[in-house]
């Protein structure tokens, strides 16, 4: 399935886009998504490893299954306040 992944801050700058389409297997987890992102955007590597992934506006661990239609985002370490 194809997921749209939202990117922010330096992750967006490194990927060159604020939203990218990523193909993952029909049965996939956040770990699969991270792998696919790493292959597609090698420059994201270090920052991606330090970033969280959010699914439908909640933080999601690597085991979290993904479904078509999920809103997925890469959340680099935050610096609000």
């Amino acid at each position: 399935m194809t997921l749209t992944v939202h990117l922010f801050a330096r992750a967006r700058d490194l990927a060159g886009s604020d939203a990218v389409s990523i193909d993952v297997p029909a049965v996939a987890t956040v770990a699969d998504l991270r792998l696919a992102l790493t292959h597609r955007f090698p420059a994201l590597g270090d920052l991606l490893a330090r970033s969280a992934v959010a699914v439908n506006h909640d933080f999601a661990d690597d085991l979290r299954p993904l479904s078509a239609g999920d809103e997925v985002a890469v959340i680099p370490p935050v610096s609000g306040g």
Binding site: H6, F8, A9, R10, D13, L14, L47, R50, A54, H57, D58, F59, E71, A73, I75, P76, P77, V78, S79, G80, G81
Partner: protein
């Protein structure tokens, strides 16, 4: 009440909104843009948010505050966009019967906001150099006293 806004934060109105005859204490916290971080001069900051998730996490912080403490009103507002030195980036106002709850809830809210809410700042120096601030978790956990050692990654323009 939680809100992201592109406009200057009217913290006076916010404080008046949480005040009330039943509550004997109000605690307000303001985060403002500093001109110096260590020896690095800041000309302006840009704050970016992932708005739906940021507002959801801010609402969860308000709910957790209400679960942990007996408070009156709670307001969390974060500004996004470009902010000059001295401008207010975030305001947290809490009213409560007594001061301990007001202080503790206010501090929990800003501490948790800085830890969990998807908002990022980009620093820009007068020479145009700058970058997104993405703290390493060690530094993030070391609390705000260490914030001036935050990692600034990359150069913008």
């Amino acid at each position: 009440m939680v809100r992201l806004t592109h406009n200057p934060i009217d913290y006076h109105a916010l404080t008046e909104a949480v005040r009330g005859p039943h509550y004997g204490a109000v605690a307000l916290f303001l985060g403002t843009v500093r001109d110096l971080t260590g020896d690095q001069v800041t000309e302006f900051l840009v704050y970016e948010a992932y708005p739906p998730m940021a507002e959801k996490k801010m609402a969860e912080i308000e709910a957790e505050v209400r679960r942990r403490w007996t408070v009156g009103e709670v307001a969390l507002v974060h500004r996004i966009g470009r902010l000059g030195v001295g401008e207010v980036s975030v305001a947290v106002a809490v009213s409560a019967l007594h001061r301990a709850a007001a202080f503790d809830a206010c501090r929990y809210a800003i501490d948790t906001l800085k830890e969990l809410v998807p908002i990022w700042k980009k620093e820009t120096a007068p020479d145009g150099v700058g970058g997104w601030v993405h703290p390493t978790s060690e530094l993030r956990n070391a609390e705000c006293g260490m914030r001036n050692k935050d990692t600034i990654e990359g150069d913008a323009q």
